[in-house]
């Protein structure tokens, strides 16, 4: 417990080198009257080894931002810098290069895998992608076993299984094993625990923290659960209607929130040591 606490509280990430940053990043969908600004001129700096959470309600633009960070969508305006240099994803080949540095875990583990690929093929792909094509069979096997051990899965039981034969929690852990093999600079986790129960959630969160400590990667964690963000992250960005309304160290943002939106988000979460105030809810004036 104490070990974890130290690594999570005493580091000042502002001094670390920048990993991913954005200036005036904007995404506009549609044209003319039907224009929707999903992400509105946001600036951010994610440092090496930092655990960042982006918190917001449904429709606040979290997922659009994450797609832009991954390079799946192009920004309408602004610039995204990867390791200090403007990133170039103009061609398919360059995109593949970029994805060696950034990888993602998605919300729905059931649709994250190719149904026709067995578990060992999934992991072998990762080894090959990291330039391990020339390794011997035994070396590859050892690497896969190590990755599975890291996420508490037994590789011997998994070979020859298809992803759909695993439970949701196991699949999500296999995703983490993939990341462990790929060792990207940045991991983007888009609500990875929203479809698993509280028990597996604890396991997955602990694994993400271990992964960060072991490989020193930057983790960008996207969630709507502010309690979870507080537990896991070093820095929290609060997003409302496409803008960051507040950001800072986890303790500052959660314990002394300044923006009214952050205050509301925190008060809306059911707690166990404080009274949950239902009287603030206005059922009639909601959409």
């Amino acid at each position: 417990m104490s070990e974890n606490e130290n690594t999570r509280k005493n580091i000042d990430f502002a001094e670390k080198p920048l990993c991913l940053s954005g200036r005036g990043v904007t995404k506009v969908f549609g044209l003319g009257d039907k224009k929707t600004v999903a992400v509105d001129h946001v600036d951010f700096d994610f440092h090496e080894g930092e655990f960042v959470s982006i918190v917001g309600e449904s429709g606040s633009g979290k997922t659009t931002l994450s797609k832009m960070l991954l390079g799946l969508l192009n920004q309408s305006e602004g610039q995204i810098l990867f390791q200090g240099k403007p990133r170039d994803i103009s061609s398919g080949h360059k995109k593949k290069e970029y994805w060696k540095g950034i990888q993602a875990i998605f919300q729905d583990p059931f649709s994250s895998f190719n149904t026709f690929q067995k578990v060992d093929a999934v992991l072998l792909d990762c080894i090959n992608m990291r330039g391990g094509k020339g390794l011997s069979k035994q070396e590859k096997f050892d690497m896969m076993t190590e990755a599975c051990n890291f996420v508490n899965l037994k590789f011997a039981e998994l070979t020859n299984k298809y992803p759909f034969e695993l439970s949701g929690g196991q699949m999500q852990r296999l995703m983490i094993a993939r990341i462990f093999l790929l060792k990207p600079k940045i991991l983007l986790a888009d609500e990875p625990t929203s479809m698993v129960d509280a028990c597996s959630r604890a396991t997955i969160l602990d694994m993400l923290l271990n992964l960060r400590d072991e490989t020193g990667m930057t983790v960008i964690f996207i969630t709507h659960d502010i309690g979870l963000a507080y537990y896991i992250s070093d820095t929290i960005y609060i997003m409302e209607h496409g803008k960051f309304v507040e950001y800072g160290k986890a303790d500052e943002v959660i314990l002394e929130p300044k923006a009214p939106y952050t205050k509301r988000l925190i008060s809306d979460v059911p707690k166990i040591h404080e009274e949950w105030d239902l009287s603030t809810v206005d059922l009639l004036n909601s959409n």
Binding site: M1, N4, E5, R8, K9, E57, S58, N152, S167, G168, G169, V196, D197, A198, C199, S200, R201, A202, T203, L205, D206, H224, D225, I226, G227, L228, A229, Y230, Y231, A250, D251, I254, L255, R264, L265, I266, D268, V269, P270, K271, I272, H273, E274, W276, L278, V281, L283, L284, S286, N287
Partner: protein, 335 residues
């Protein structure tokens, strides 16, 4: 002690797979909900929470099969009834159910008023159209939903609105028991709060007499229900009031589960989360002894072979473990 609204006695149900194997999903569950009370069920995925909800409605369709036990709603035993009779006489008027995917429960081609009409006419085929509309409008505005909602299609509503509409429609006949199966899991915190407030209002205004709330979000259960029951591998492992269960869990499984609570309160950051390693047992062949023994830190050889009955203790509490309450508490303190 209030009048019991829902009583379940030693309920056993099973699934039969394609290969004719039996999966005992609900195995000897008993509990009572009194009038005006709410009960929460917590447990991990696959422990039988949703199957228990389906079984309680008496709505058995293959692969789900009824084995034994009684389900008594306000003095009326509905166990073993024909599913068609259940649909016509019980569902909606005695017991209402909000499914897990309530957001997708609305047919996109029909207006909301059509669902209300359907529910009302299923129980009273001659009901007048205008009468139904007036009643629906009154109920919707009382629950804080604008009455224009009735003339809208499901696609025009947001997720939280859809969920609240489903709740309003399914409780329109004033059921005695409302079963809510993860009604707020897919919503963000603000919409979740609205759904909960609406369910509270339904209880306070007496439209529903009792409620069974299923979720794996423990802080939510603590704030919503009077009592909490923890389920593991088809059995109830512990039962108590919400406060007792969150601050003083006895069974090792509930203890582990309560350790995984995440709330944005001071002191939760950096705290060790109580993850329970391993996976639940295969319910095709449930173990003879304690079902949690394989994953339990405190298990001994006896746990694996002795079948464990429900042990009452304290004021109306119950747990299912070989060790005594004092022994368990001592172990937790020494950790």
């Amino acid at each position: 002690m209030g009048k019991p609204m829902l009583e379940v006695r030693n309920l056993k149900t099973k699934y039969v797979t394609r290969f004719h194997e039996d999966v005992y999903a609900v195995d000897g569950v008993s509990f009572t909900i009194e009038e005006g009370k709410s009960l929460g069920i917590a447990g991990e995925s696959g422990c039988g929470k949703s199957t228990l909800a389906l079984s309680m409605m008496g709505y058995y369709f293959p692969p789900l099969h009824y084995m034994s036990g009684d389900i008594i709603i306000d003095g009326k035993n509905i166990s073993g009834m024909d599913p068609d009779t259940v649909r016509k006489t019980i569902l909606g008027s005695e017991i209402a159910y909000i499914p897990q995917a309530a957001m997708n429960a609305l047919n996109p081609t029909q207006k909301i008023i059509k669902f209300v009409t359907d529910v009302m006419r299923a129980h009273d085929p001659k009901k007048d159209k205008n009468e139904i509309r007036e009643m629906a409008e009154a109920r919707f505005s009382e629950l804080g939903l604008p009455k224009e909602t009735l003339q809208k299609h499901a696609v025009e509503l947001s997720g939280g609105m859809k969920q609240r509409t489903v709740i309003a429609v399914s409780t329109i006949l004033n059921p005695k028991v409302l079963i809510a199966d993860e009604p707020s899991s897919a919503l963000d915190v603000t919409s979740q709060k609205m759904v909960i407030k609406m369910m509270r209002e339904l209880m306070e205004k007496g439209y529903i007499k009792s409620m069974l709330f299923i979720t794996h979000e423990l802080p939510l259960l603590y704030n919503v229900t009077d009592d909490i029951m923890v389920m593991y591998a088809g059995q109830i492992v512990e039962k108590g009031t919400a406060k007792e269960m969150v601050f003083d869990p006895v069974h090792p499984y509930s203890h582990g589960l309560m350790g995984s609570i995440l709330v944005p309160e001071e002191g939760t950051r950096g705290q060790k989360l109580g993850a329970i390693p391993g996976a639940p047992p295969n319910l095709k062949k449930p173990p003879d002894g304690c079902r949690f023994a394989e994953r339990c830190k405190y298990a001994c050889a006896d746990c694996r072979y002795t079948s464990i009955p429900e042990k009452p203790f304290g004021e109306g509490r119950m747990y299912r473990c070989l060790k005594s309450v004092e022994e368990l508490k001592e172990v937790y303190e020494n950790e």
